[in-house]
């Protein structure tokens, strides 16, 4: 299995996320875009650790060619972090919504700075 499609996919995901952040004004959409970016990066990490034709790194007995286990561990951490950031973002969004009654992010007003 070639890794190039996955690299392209992850680049695509990151680009989509960036595009979302750059073009959307709705806070929820922004958070979603962030998450998409996160997913893209996670995919990138896993892809990087992948060896074409390797197996899962479970070392019992006759293991031959296995993929690098470290990226997978990293991805786990990254996912956790991503989720927590997302959760915090949701909380902040809710607080913001409660205060202003809006999810739009626009120039001036509260978002002036």
């Amino acid at each position: 299995m070639e890794i190039t499609p996955f690299l392209i996919l992850s680049a695509g995901l990151i680009s989509i996320g960036l595009y979302g952040i750059m073009s959307k004004k709705n806070l929820l959409k922004l958070l979603i875009s962030l998450d998409i970016m996160d997913v893209g990066v996670n995919l990138l990490i896993v892809t990087v650790g992948y060896l074409p034709g390797g197996t899962a790194p479970i070392m019992d007995g006759d293991y031959g060619k296995y993929v690098d286990p470290l990226p997978q561990a990293l991805v786990l951490t990254a996912i956790v972090i991503g989720v927590s950031v997302l959760a915090l973002g949701m909380i902040l969004t809710i607080r913001h919504y409660r205060r202003t009654g809006s999810l739009e992010m626009d120039e001036g007003g509260v978002f002036g700075w």
């Binding site: 996320g17 962030l34 990490i45 990087v48 470290l70 990226p71 990254a78 950031v85 915090l88 700075w113």
Partner: protein, 467 residues
Amino acid sequence: MVVHPTLLIVLPLVGAFSVSLIRRYGGGAIKLYGSAYLFLNLIISAVLFMEVRSGGEVTERIAGYSPPVGIFLAVGAVNAVLVLLINLFAAFNYLTFNPKDKEPFHRFTVLYLLGVASSSGIVLTGDLFNMFVFFEIAAVSSYALVASSKDERSVGSAIKYMILGSVGSTFMLISIALIYSELRTLNLYDIAHRIGEMGGAVRTAAFTFLIVGIGVEAEIFPFNGWVPGVYGRSDGNISSFLVLGPSKAAIYAILRVLITLFYGSSSRAVMMDIAMVLGLITLVVGEVAALSEKDPKRMLAFSSIGQMGLILIAISLGSAAGIVAAVFLMVSHASVKSALFLSSDVYRQGGMRYTLTGALSVGAVLGLVGMPPFAGFWGKWYLLSGAADEGLWIVIAAVIFTTAVEAYYLARFLSRGLSMKKRGGVKPTRVITMTVMVGVSLLVGLFASVIYEMVSAGVTTLLSGGI
């Protein structure tokens, strides 16, 4: 090894996770509990500092795995200074929080302790991914701390901060992935020595993404859009924490990246140039923007940007003088800018009319501009002499220009503060903290040799790709 550097990270984490246990004893008890951890941390970092001072670098492996496989903590001269600085100021800064303002206080304490732990972690760690994790923890706690400010609009700023920070951390992660894909290691020093093996394009991308990713936290223009908003709307003591903790850690991370990580890279000179240009732009943009800013907190925020640019310039000189200058500037900035942020809270209440607060603010301003015998003077002296040695007169010109601008707006800040009407008191804890901060700046300036000797001894290994 008398103390384990790990304790500096572990202790606040323990504190953070155990603080909810005592939440029913009220805010005072929680504050006591939190302070106990922080001051313990302070003592440990002081011991660590002494140890590094006497015996050179200290390293510690986590969980017994030896590098490059395992994570390890590496304490050299520079980060020993920095970790002491962070813990010292963080401990005193914690005293300024009033439990009644920050209900529920135990949650606040959790965030604060996490922030301290992760800032120390960034400074101490010798592992790239570990650094990233600490960055994320620091960032998350910062977002939450900012959002806990009195000014409700701070939530909006926190959201901005969060989005920019997340993008930055994504970039960092991309860079980590790229480096890992080539070198199969995450140990900083291992990478440093094998960076030449990386392909040119990948290395370029890795550097770019990494510098941008850290740059967001380290307030480097143009990645620092969040700074004025966050500092402008947060409480002064939260801003001061951000200044002394995460942002110092982040600029130190840049030092690691520039000096250590890409040590062996063939295009390191260009990277240094880029960093210098970034620093120059940041310096000028920050200071000039601060000149036209009328809101005191936001003005200090812009001023912070400028100072960060100055530190970045010092780092990017890449010489011993530059590193020494950077350390002094970090000490100076962490101490006096935090003190100024503390005073900015009572600014509009005429707090500066109180003799001691006023005197401390004046002292902080003097320190920030770089008057001897404050620490900032040695920072600027070594920065300028380092720049002069390399014939970078444009840097010197920029520094002179921005210093004049800085002096102007800081004096305006002072003179306004000194002519405000008295409308409320200044809490003694705040005065004590400010005294400690300004005092440290003064003492470091007076006994500059302590830090100078230590850093200049350690800087040789640092510059040759060591710790």
